[in-house]
């Protein structure tokens, strides 16, 4: 009996420390927890890294940009616009000016629309004379002032999306929600529930959807396949947003609805990642939400993620995918020297020259 025990050791005995909770989570300092194992690829400083998804994707974009990486922005706005205006109008928030993309279905349909493969029946909203994009309703304050501006901006935006699809080296997509609202006629998914902050709710037109794990998985696969068909070398990093649902339309508690939604997205991300060598899952969700942090990574509302939590996630991201640490300090805005633009410099020159002509 004793010999049998020696000959058949416990199969867990040779596993690495990362397989054991106590050794890799429970008994080590929080900041040392790194749940990333065997990343499938690395990201170099030259790689064009695009981001899309829910709010949490903005943190990844911010760290990449601040750390000197090639954050790929195909719709950056124009240099004549000051920093605060670029921010107000969501230039550079994500790689293109698409705003938050909460569900995988939205992402697939954005690609379809950008390539002229989908023409939604409900394509523009009007609000007090302003034109609002149902698929990015908060992309700029007060909407677009006329139809011409709306369509010109939309066309430019689609061009930027196509450029992102075709020229990114790495695409980071943060999965946010499974709950969404779609048009009852053609199934086009809105960015928000129409009537909640923008648009007018019409129960006959607007239908609630809570995507299943099979649907979410199929949509993620479809989005990646769409991109790879146009960009074969693309690497994809999937993450799940740790930010809980702000509200659920299901007849269940928002806490239970959040767990369901994040679970579906987590399973879908793993499923897609497991069958594609160029698709990886980055566990920012686990870093922020695990019991190891004892909720310390959430703000007082228990929803927004604190910067310290973002820093932890980004340390792991940089360590495993980039091989260096991110820049965690930022130069205060007031200390940033303001350089005159060409228009300012040359106008000053012109004005100064005026005196030379005063020879009367």
């Amino acid at each position: 009996m004793a010999e049998d025990q020696v000959g058949n050791p416990c199969p867990y005995s040779d596993l690495p420390e990362t397989s054991f909770w106590r050794r890799s989570v429970g008994a080590i300092p929080l900041q040392d927890i790194d749940p990333v194992l065997n990343p499938k690829f690395r990201i170099s400083a030259r790689d064009r890294v695009a981001t899309a998804g829910s709010c949490f994707a903005q943190h990844i974009a911010r760290y990449l940009r601040n750390s000197g990486f090639n954050y790929f922005v195909t719709e950056p706005g124009h240099p004549i616009l000051p920093e605060h205006t670029l921010k107000d109008f969501n230039y550079g928030t994500f790689s293109a000016r698409f705003g938050n993309i909460y569900t995988p279905r939205q992402l697939v349909q954005l690609f379809e629309r950008a390539y002229g493969l989908r023409q939604p029946v409900d394509d523009v909203w009007t609000d007090n004379g302003a034109f609002v994009d149902p698929f990015r309703p908060f992309i700029q304050p007060h909407g677009f002032h006329c139809a011409t501006e709306f369509h010109a901006d939309r066309a430019q935006h689609f061009g930027a999306v196509r450029e992102m699809v075709e020229q990114s080296d790495v695409f980071v997509f943060t999965l946010g929600l499974t709950e969404g609202w779609e048009n009852a006629v053609d199934g086009t998914v809105y960015a928000i529930c129409p009537g909640c902050g923008a648009g007018v709710h019409d129960p006959a037109q607007h239908r609630f959807r809570n995507f299943t794990v099979d649907e979410a998985t199929a949509d993620i696969k479809a989005a990646i396949a769409f991109m790879k068909a146009r960009n074969p070398g693309l690497r994809v990093l999937l993450t799940v947003s740790p930010v809980p649902l702000i509200a659920t339309f299901e007849n269940r508690h928002v806490l239970a609805a959040t767990t369901y939604s994040k679970s579906v997205l987590r399973v879908a991300a793993q499923t897609v990642s497991d069958c594609d060598t160029r698709v990886d899952y980055f566990p920012s969700f686990e870093i922020i939400t695990s019991s190891a942090s004892r909720g310390a990574y959430f703000a007082d509302d228990l929803r927004e993620v604190e910067e310290i939590g973002v820093q932890h996630a980004m340390r792991c991201f940089f360590r495993n995918y980039i091989g260096k640490q991110p820049k965690l300090t930022r130069i205060p805005a007031e200390r940033t020297p303001v350089m005159p633009t060409t228009s300012e410099r040359l106008n000053d020159l012109v004005c100064d020259e005026q005196r030379l002509e005063d020879l009367l």
Partner: protein
């Protein structure tokens, strides 16, 4: 308006002509042409106009400063000039030509890519095919940042002047061609694309709207710079009124400007 022989209009030359309403012009580089028109003998039967501050070096720094406690204060040069005017003629009109070039400072040179925006529904045909389309509201916000000082300047002006006889002169629209600008800035702006006149015209429209709003908020008069006879059918300033730099206006234009200002003052003084 009449053009006679050279007349000395310097403010230091004495008190306003008896019987005439006095007006004093001040501002940056655009006042040079006004000074030249005055020196060339511009006159009006009822209004006597003089310049009191002329040039960027004569009016250095910001037009509004903020004290340590955050309180805004007029530029000391303007403040001193206003005191001089008040001492000479408490009923004089003030004509401000300050702050009109912000639209050029924002976007005279667009670099690559160029930019464009839709001012109104009818202007679709004007969008350049290869330009980056910007939301009008974003351009407005950017220009508003550039003209932010004016929101403090105009109220201070009315406060210090002690009356509402203040006219703000908007700049004139650009010329329809870029050749003057290109030749003038050939060396300084080498390799830098000049924003097409059509787009600069749109910026000018927004600038005027902002200036008008600032003036209305402060309760002061605003005169738009596209005086009849100085612009073509599309609204661009005629080349005959442009100086060789492609930005400033010449003394002939200034003469019309002075006619317009004098007429405006006369109308309100008689009424």
């Amino acid at each position: 308006m009449s053009k006679g022989g050279p007349v000395n209009n310097s403010v230091s030359e004495g008190n306003p002509v008896a019987g005439k309403i006095a007006a004093f012009v001040f501002g940056h580089s655009h006042v040079w042409s006004v000074r030249r028109a005055l020196k060339l003998g511009w006159q009006h039967p009822d209004i006597k106009i003089r310049d009191i501050i002329c040039g960027t070096k004569e009016l250095p720094g910001s037009i509004v400063y903020h004290l340590a406690n955050g309180e805004p204060q007029l530029n000391a040069v303007i403040l001193a000039a206003l005191h001089r005017v008040a001492a000479m003629d408490a009923n004089a009109w003030l004509v401000s030509m300050v702050g009109g070039n912000d639209y050029n400072r924002l976007g005279m040179f667009s670099g690559s890519p160029s930019f464009d925006f839709v001012v109104d529904e009818d202007s679709q045909a004007g969008l350049a095919a290869d330009a980056m389309v910007l939301p009008k509201a974003a351009v407005q916000e950017a220009l508003k940042s550039k003209t932010e000082t004016l929101s403090a300047y105009f109220p201070l002006l009315t406060q210090m002047a002690g009356h509402k006889r203040i006219i703000v002169i908007g700049t004139s629209p650009p010329n329809a061609t870029d050749d003057l600008l290109v030749s003038h800035l050939e060396k300084a702006a080498k390799g830098t694309a000049i924003t097409p006149a059509r787009v600069r015209y749109k910026l000018w429209l927004i600038q005027n709207q902002l200036m008008l709003e600032h003036c209305q908020a402060a309760g002061i008069h605003f005169l738009k710079g596209d005086y009849p006879g100085t612009v073509d059918a599309d609204g661009y300033t005629l080349k005959a009124f442009m100086k060789s730099d492609g930005i400033h206006l010449n003394e002939d234009h200034a003469s019309i400007l002075l006619d317009t200002v004098a007429g405006y003052i006369a109308e309100r003084s008689n009424g």
